[in-house]
Amino acid sequence: MKILVCVKQVPASNETRLDPVTHTIIREGAEAVLNPFDAFAVEEAVRIKSRCGGSVTAISMGIPAAAAMLRRVIAVGADEAILLTDRAFAGADTLATARTLARAVEKAGLPDLILCGRMATDGDTAQVGPMLAENLGIPHVSDVAAIESVDDSVLVARRLTDDGYARVRVRLPALVTVLREINVPRLPSVSGVLRGEACGVTVWDRAALGLDPAETGLKGSATRVVRTMRPDLSVQTVAIGGRPGEQAARLIECLRARKLIETEGRA
């Protein structure tokens, strides 16, 4: 069984704050890490490989330094890694990203199963997986909490829906996006890390994928960010002080006055 897993490098923290002295926005000293959701996809891929045999290929679009992250994926059990990197890929929205990934998947050979994390923590859009599946003309199942069974032609999964869970059967090839609850990702062993370090990462640029510059990066994106602003958070706040007992009593009084609670207890 040929499995492909899509991974992305993201900042370890998204926290942004105002510098207390200069009042300008500062990004926390941002270490780049494997998107946490993708770790679950990688783990699931490695587990399926150990059950069904086959191979796991990791693919990522990013800056050249993302090769280090891909070696980490090899350290936990992927067999090979492909990095799509080119200045022309910069500024891609989800549409352009999915287009570039799809071309690379076609070049690598369509696998039986593609696994993606539910979303990336730096964008929170959850769009690239389904878009990639569409570009490849294969079905996708989102928000999968468990892969109950899989063989060369069919996969049965439990997916999270708005009303609970649904069990679905999908014909392969297909793309699956996974939730955190699907597994507990392993950490690599010393041997695994050394294997990853020794392993080469295949690098493809735009020309290697045969993409037109107008199809990739900012140029190939349908959306543009026109403005960013810090949200206005001001609300009239009533501070309720005192000891916990007094605070509870006063709060109950206030909430009762606003008809938010209907209890008859002591205030």
């Binding site: 370890a12 926290e15 500062i26 890490v33 370090e197 007992g245």
Partner: protein, 533 residues
């Protein structure tokens, strides 16, 4: 809001610390600034009421559990007051004692400071500081510890292998004495002359006295610190609230390492783990390759500790995310490295693979954490051990209220550690007690814990601890490397110091606190008590 409040049921949570030592108090106060703290102490002095200082209440020796009188809770003195850069370019951060370690870490990581009330010089010093550039190295496993509490018992935690204890990172402090007078001391400026001390007071007065005639243990010790020509700040660090109440601390920050990584290796037997630790510490057995790098922390988990966590994982949803242990595990050693260049890691791992193999381990049966997120998984695992102990003790205490956490943190030098470790194992294996051993093996103070289920087991545990205190005393070690003696290990302190030196320490206390109002029941055994015991 009244400063001195009657102790009522709503404050029941302030009667015990993490050790589950139940205390009692008639009053409680939550000062928000030094002036209020002084006012509370003066009130006690006027009324002859004893007082016990409290910070994050995360102590494991009962030091913050009040023994009557006033619970002086410093949790609302949690502001960061200012920043100074010294001539050598080092940053010093002034904080109130109730500031929690986690709050400090967040402030430094995100450069998030409330600078209202800061002086101009502090604001200017802050301007060039980058988020995450500096850090405060001491790392007791519990991040909700308060800085005041950490100073009071000279906490150290895992990373002290590389960075030393809290004492090493405090450059100045202010303390309120039992009569409400305040002293302000700076390292390097205010020192003893030999064993004579002229302690300057803010009101212009001076406290003149002689230090005890002996030096406290030369190895890591959470208690009193006595040396000739010592820095006077060190009198208060480790004195566990018995000499004065720390009202302000100046912390020395260090440049934060840019790359933290670590690994846990599993071994078939404790002896393999000990050999591995010796090699990591630079003393490899014959046949084991040399390992020339310094670890920031070295932690041990024995089989019982791992089994306990595995069992708890089945019950506690919060532990669901714990990594599954490799089949056939026995014990494990976690090693953390703090460096600046991720490229240093692979060659070091190659060397470690050799050390692991030579020590009887298997490089395939390891967990490597290569970045912050992965390291958090290993730290989560480490933290799950004391968390599990907490859960079990909480449960056991429901059946037998006298039960508290029984954890030791005795320390000896490198030459005696293996002997002590084998004593621990032999003494515990001879009982039917539930016990685990885990903790800071890198600095020769693992934590044997006894999880008592009955009063008999609890008393048996104390007896074993007393025996170990005599063993450790014989080896020239300390009965408490980091938790402090508090109330639970007061008897062990008496064993370590002996009656003569204990009397000298009590005399020292009387200089600061003639009526013995501060921290009653902590560390010291007063003569009358001894006679009565």
């Amino acid at each position: 809001m009244q400063l001195i409040r009657k102790m009522t049921g709503e404050y029941a949570g302030y009667l015990f610390d993490e050790s589950r030592t139940m205390g009692q108090a008639d009053w409680i106060a939550f000062p928000t600034c030094e002036a209020e703290l002084v006012e509370a102490v003066r009130w006690c002095a006027r009324n002859g009421v004893s007082l016990t200082a409290q910070g994050g209440m995360t102590g494991l020796a009962g030091g913050a559990s009040p023994a009557g009188g006033l619970a002086l809770n410093l949790s609302r003195m949690n502001r960061i007051l200012g920043l100074r850069r010294d001539g050598a370019g080092a940053y010093h951060l002034r904080v109130q004692p109730g500031l929690l370690l986690t709050q400090l870490r967040r402030a430094l990581a995100a450069k998030s400071f409330d600078i209202a009330g800061w002086d101009e010089a502090s604001i200017e010093a802050l301007r060039p500081l980058k988020p995450g550039e500096m850090f405060f190295p001491p790392d007791p496993t519990e991040p909700t510890a308060s800085l005041g509490g950490m100073a009071a018992c000279n906490a150290c935690g895992a990373r002290s292998v590389l960075y030393g204890c809290t004492r090493a990172h405090i450059s100045a402090l202010r303390a309120v004495l039992a009569d409400g007078r305040v002293t302000s001391l700076a390292r390097g400026r205010d020192k003893a002359q030999g064993r004579h001390v002229l302690l300057p007071l803010e009101d212009g007065g001076v406290l003149s006295f002689d230090l005890p005639s002996f030096d406290t243990p030369p190895i890591k010790d959470a208690g009193y610190f006595i040396r000739e020509n010592m820095d006077l700040v060190d009198l208060f660090i480790g004195s566990q609230g018995t000499l004065g109440i720390i009202s302000e601390l100046e912390l020395t920050l260090m440049p934060a390492p840019k790359h933290l990584w670590g690994l846990t290796a599993f071994f078939p037997d404790d002896e393999n783990a000990l050999a591995y630790v010796r090699a990591i510490k630079g003393h490899p057995d014959p046949g084991t390759p040399a390992f020339p790098h310094r670890a920031a922390s070295i932690e041990f988990f024995n089989r019982n500790a791992l089994d306990m966590v595995v069992r708890q994982k089945e019950i506690t949803p919060a532990f669901h995310r714990l990594l599954p242990l490799p089949d056939g595990y026995n014990c494990a050693v976690y090693v953390e490295f703090n460096g600046d260049d991720p490229a240093d890691m692979p060659p070091m791992l190659r060397e470690l693979a050799g050390v692991i193999t030579a020590s009887g381990g298997d490089p395939d049966r390891t967990w490597v954490a290569r970045d912050q997120l992965e390291l958090e998984q290993l730290l989560f695992f480490r933290h799950s051990v004391p968390e599990t102990i907490d859960l079990i003790i909480e449960e056991n205490k429901k059946k037998e209220p006298c039960i508290t956490i029984l954890s030791t943190d005795m320390a000896v030098d490198d030459g005696h550690f293996d002997e002590l470790f084998h004593i621990y194992k032999r003494d515990l294996a001879a009982t039917s007690l539930q016990w685990i051993i885990f903790g800071h093996i890198g600095e020769n103070h693992v934590h044997p814990n006894i999880l008592a289920r009955t009063r008999e087991e609890y008393e048996q545990g104390h007896a074993i601890f007393e025996k170990w205190a005599r063993d450790v005393h014989r080896m020239g070690g300390s009965i408490s490397a980091e938790h402090g003696a508090g109330k639970i290990k007061k008897k062990l302190a008496l064993i370590m110091y002996g009656p003569e030196r204990m009397r000298e320490l009590v005399s020292l206390k009387r200089v600061f606190d003639p009526r013995l109002l501060l921290g009653p029941g902590n560390v010291l055994t007063i003569d009358s008590e001894e006679a009565g015991a």
